[in-house]
Symmetry: C2
Subunit: 340 residues, 2 copies
């Protein structure tokens, strides 16, 4: 198997990307093709004293930045690492594409260059959602690929997310929850009400509506919502958690007695903060396109890059895309009936 | 001025409600009419050794519970404390209604019994949103009165919220932010895009889009969003903050060294947790109906009840409803132009 890695995407490219590739290459048997400016990548490989033959370089001279408009960037920067990488994937020159680059451009590029799976109306961006109570994280779909969703889209997100969590994370029959403003059936917008019915009638392990207060407690394995809500949930969780940590730190510092106490508990707090570092869990998939694409956080470090590569492998090896294709054929008729 | 208090609404009624009324009565010069079962209320007044003449009782034998369906409850329980209290307000027998009862029933009841302000399409429920960085809290509108909103509704929420924060909280020219998935203009759903334009062209102090990660940091005074998003924001904030606190507590307990440290810092942490107790700030207004209505949290204690009564007074005394009415006449034409 060959992993195509965007060497120029993200805040720490190419340094941390290449370093992460070297770390991953030491632990896996697959080839990694780093796409980007050859000189820069070579320099980083040398700096990391890489002398193996499983990391290859594919030249691409342009870079899509975080500021680029997604659609324009995909159309105009044909020699960017992102466009070249996705095109290689489409042409069978690799089995999976991993990037820390511009999220919008990656989603748009995956849709335009790889195409959607038949029956999938809207590809989704998933995101790993930490379980603050300490258990396994969940997969939130959609994290913002589309800002508006129809009920049918929410069912698609649930279906794709379930298959991914089952096959890639190894959690059989994962629990699917629908983000809503109350747990009772019949709550919510017209879209969530309709989605509730579709999910209830589906073969998925649907546990019902989940409220905002239960999402961070690991209420379900697959957290289904529209991309607007998903974006708010992810950013708000980060904002609240980091603000609370900051305040706790301040509280620990105030008063001499507390300073002594604070020093003693500091190491425990740091260990806790690491748990929220969901980079550990690897990247998050773009779901609904015809080949495996993994999105890493824009500020990914080498450790996060290595983790995303290693943990992403089952997305390709377990034929997740093919399984989604088959499932979509099964539910296609059902969805069409439900829709009108 | 006369404050009408729902004596039977909320988890701790009538005990904490009456106790809160007694506490408030000691500090204010207004009359408080407690609506509910006379025997139960009398008993609580005696228990609290109340011997003044500024707390009156208005009989209402029925109780709307948290489980009641809002519309049905308002239509059928005519002798409930909530319906009787709102009817008294409508009939001029009081100047403000304060309740810890069923939120849905309060919003529906206010709309049906008091009526909407001319030009207001959808009354909103506001909620006090804590500033986790330690500053003043914000007012989030809509907290869930409607699950779906048009752009026009978001403008109404912004307008009403601004007037409330200015007149009741005494913050002149409050900053208004629109919850969205990016800070840049042009981001979001068709509704938030349109609302952005309307807000930008309005006379309000619109600071632009605010992302989920900035909301808990006190990004603006008036946080505008649809009721679905508002509900998710409020519950998620509670869920994340409480989960983080729980984990911090666990971290402090693990290891003997940390136990010593934990004991030392415990008091500081408790002080911090109190800050998130936004009950302190009083109740939250139902906005867009023709008279002042204040919603308290369902689990309000006496302290929260007293605080809601005292802090709610300017909602009536500062003629907030009249100011909203005047502003709506001014913007009416403008909104209609924008709408189609």
């Amino acid at each position: 198997m060959r992993i195509i890695l965007d060497g120029m995407g993200g805040d720490n490219a190419p340094e941390e990307i290449v370093k992460g590739a070297v770390q991953a290459a030491a632990e896996i048997d697959h080839e990694i093709i780093i796409v980007g400016k050859p000189e820069a990548i070579k320099k980083e490989l040398e700096r990391n004293k890489y002398s193996g033959n499983r990391i290859l370089i594919e030249p691409a001279e342009e870079v899509i930045t975080m500021e680029d408009s997604p659609v324009k960037a995909i159309r105009r920067k044909k020699d960017s690492s992102l466009v070249v990488g996705l095109s290689m994937l489409r042409d069978g020159r690799g089995d999976m594409f991993v990037s820390a680059g511009n999220t919008g451009a990656l989603v748009v590029g995956a849709r335009l260059i790889l195409g959607r799976i038949r029956g999938i109306d809207r590809p989704a961006l998933a995101s790993i959602y930490p379980n603050i109570n300490g258990g396994e994280p969940g997969l939130l779909v959609d994290a913002g690929a589309s800002s508006e969703s129809k009920a049918k889209n929410l069912l698609e997100y649930a279906l794709m997310g379930s298959i991914f969590v089952d096959k890639v994370w190894g959690r059989e029959n994962p629990e699917v929850g629908l983000v809503n403003l109350g747990t009772e059936e019949g709550k919510g917008t017209s879209v969530t009400k309709d989605a509730f019915q579709m999910l209830k009638e589906s073969h998925l392990n649907f546990v019902g509506n989940v409220e905002g207060r239960d999402v961070p407690k690991g209420a379900c394995d697959v957290i289904v919502c529209d991309g607007f809500t998903g974006n708010v949930i992810l950013k708000l969780t980060e904002g609240v958690a980091m603000s609370v940590f900051k305040r706790v730190k301040q509280a620990l510092k105030s008063g001499i007695k507390s300073m002594i106490g604070g020093a003693l508990v500091k190491s425990n707090l740091m260990a806790l903060k690491d748990e929220f570092d969901y980079e550990e869990y690897g990247g998050a998939p773009v779901l609904g396109v015809t080949m495996p694409v993994i999105k890493m956080h824009g500020s990914s470090t080498a450790k996060a890059v290595a983790s995303a590569i290693k943990r992403g492998i089952p997305y390709a090896e377990e034929n997740v895309v093919d399984i989604i294709k088959e499932e979509m054929l099964k539910v296609e008729e059902y969805i069409e009936i439900e829709e009108e």
